[in-house]
Symmetry: C2
Subunit: 213 residues, 2 copies
């Protein structure tokens, strides 16, 4: 059982973007940040339900496959689930449509829990107000021996990193400079000690960096 | 003629370190930040005058060779030259001993210029108080058609990047998190546009990233 994180970050370390508008709720920067990931065959099949077999293969797709492989449960923050953008909508069910790609229990950290949401494909969203250690114990119990992913966003991931709870951190460093947003790396001086580090260069200057315990 | 920058930065983007003490004037973090660079055969020969042929070869050494190749002139900031640490010493001649590795005219940007310093091996340090454009014109005139390197530190490099004067930026991203210091990437949103980007993974997780016009 591995506690894993996978994020796309910009060269200057940002894991969120800031140019969302009502007309473009994801924003241009988000497309640029996640471009190589969402272009993979795995993302297209698993998240967009595009089974036409288009999408890239190769290094980026290998990481996209690993993203979903062996997953037993997921933890995410209220921001990633969309609660901050949909505070006043009690019926908000997340960004992922009728078949969220997780297919496992997902625990959404929030100070204002709501009733659990269930989907036919095995995905459940359970809202919990808990410290990282406690949330992790809950997710591990639900994961049936498989991995727990801390999905994001950066505020949540940093909590788990600082608490020393993450066994494997994979970042795809995308060679764009966003200049603003929430940085993944703040106040993590010395994090690398205790990890073995490897890096792999993909197309278009994207770099996959992995810290493993 | 190419205007080039080469820097070692940490994963969290810092190009300076903060743990210098009188006993350890470079500091532990500096050793960790530049470890792969100073271990190369090229650095050992060119900077340390160690001609025993020890030192690493391979990707890191290829970049170290490129660092000195085709160089016609160098620009650096007062901080990199050591003026800030040796303000009260009118005889300070830089960190590099009797044979500084540059072997070309070096222009040191400072608001308090001093007399030019000359070395037998072709290195001269000329102190100038000038805007980036003006300093670059001076260095280009001295470079005899060869490249001009903006050597550092980050305060100086950022000025040249923001002014759009840099043709090629190479960073060795070293997988350590320093947590504090001067960041290379602040306020450079969108810098990547206009550059072609490539990356290459070296040993121990070090990544060489190059932006080329
Ligand atoms: N770059 C990537 O790969 C990636 C991946 C995923 C998401 N994202 C981006 O990340 C953004 C969201 O990130 P974010 O950092 O703003 O927010 P986040 O980490 O998703 O959520 C933070 C929020 O979760 C709740 N929370 C976190 N820890 C808690 C705890 N221990 N107990 C109770 N509640 C807790 C709090 O919300 P409340 O106080 O409101 O309850 C907190 O404000 C989104 O824009 C998304 O696009 C990026
Ligand atoms: N990571 C790397 O690869 C790398 C490479 C080189 C250096 N470094 C590190 O960088 C550090 C120094 O960097 P830094 O950012 O603090 O300082 P810096 O860039 O070396 O020097 C900045 C100083 O240069 C002078 N200056 C800069 N532009 C000027 C202009 N246009 N006109 C007049 N004066 C100008 C000013 O000094 P005054 O106002 O005092 O005159 C300014 O404070 C050192 O610790 C060194 O170890 C790292």
């Amino acid at each position: 059982m591995t506690v894993r994180v996978d994020l796309n970050i910009s060269l200057d370390g940002f894991a969120t973007t800031t140019d969302q508008t009502p007309e473009n709720p994801f924003g241009e920067d988000w497309s640029r940040l996640v471009h190589t990931y969402v272009s993979t065959r795995t993302f297209r099949e698993r998240v967009l339900h595009d089974t036409s077999g288009t999408g890239t293969t190769g290094i980026n797709d290998d990481y996209a496959q690993a993203y979903f492989a062996e997953l037993g449960a997921e933890i995410m923050g209220a921001g990633m689930f969309g609660l901050h953008d949909h505070q006043d909508d009690p019926d908000w069910r997340g960004w992922w449509g009728k078949e969220p790609p997780f297919r496992v229990p997902v625990f959404v950290l929030t100070h204002t829990p709501r009733p659990t949401i269930e989907f036919d494909n095995g995905t459940t969203f359970t809202f919990i107000d808990a410290a990282p250690e406690e949330a992790l114990a809950t997710a591990i119990a639900a994961a049936g021996g498989r991995d727990v992913r801390v999905g994001g966003g950066p505020t949540t991931v940093k909590q788990f990193l600082r608490a020393g709870l993450v066994d494997q951190l994979h970042v795809a460093i995308v060679p764009i400079l966003l200049g603003r947003g929430i940085r993944l790396w703040d106040d993590l001086r010395g994090l690398e000690s205790g990890y073995t580090i490897s890096s792999e260069a993909a197309e278009s200057g994207v770099i996959h960096l992995t810290l493993r315990r």
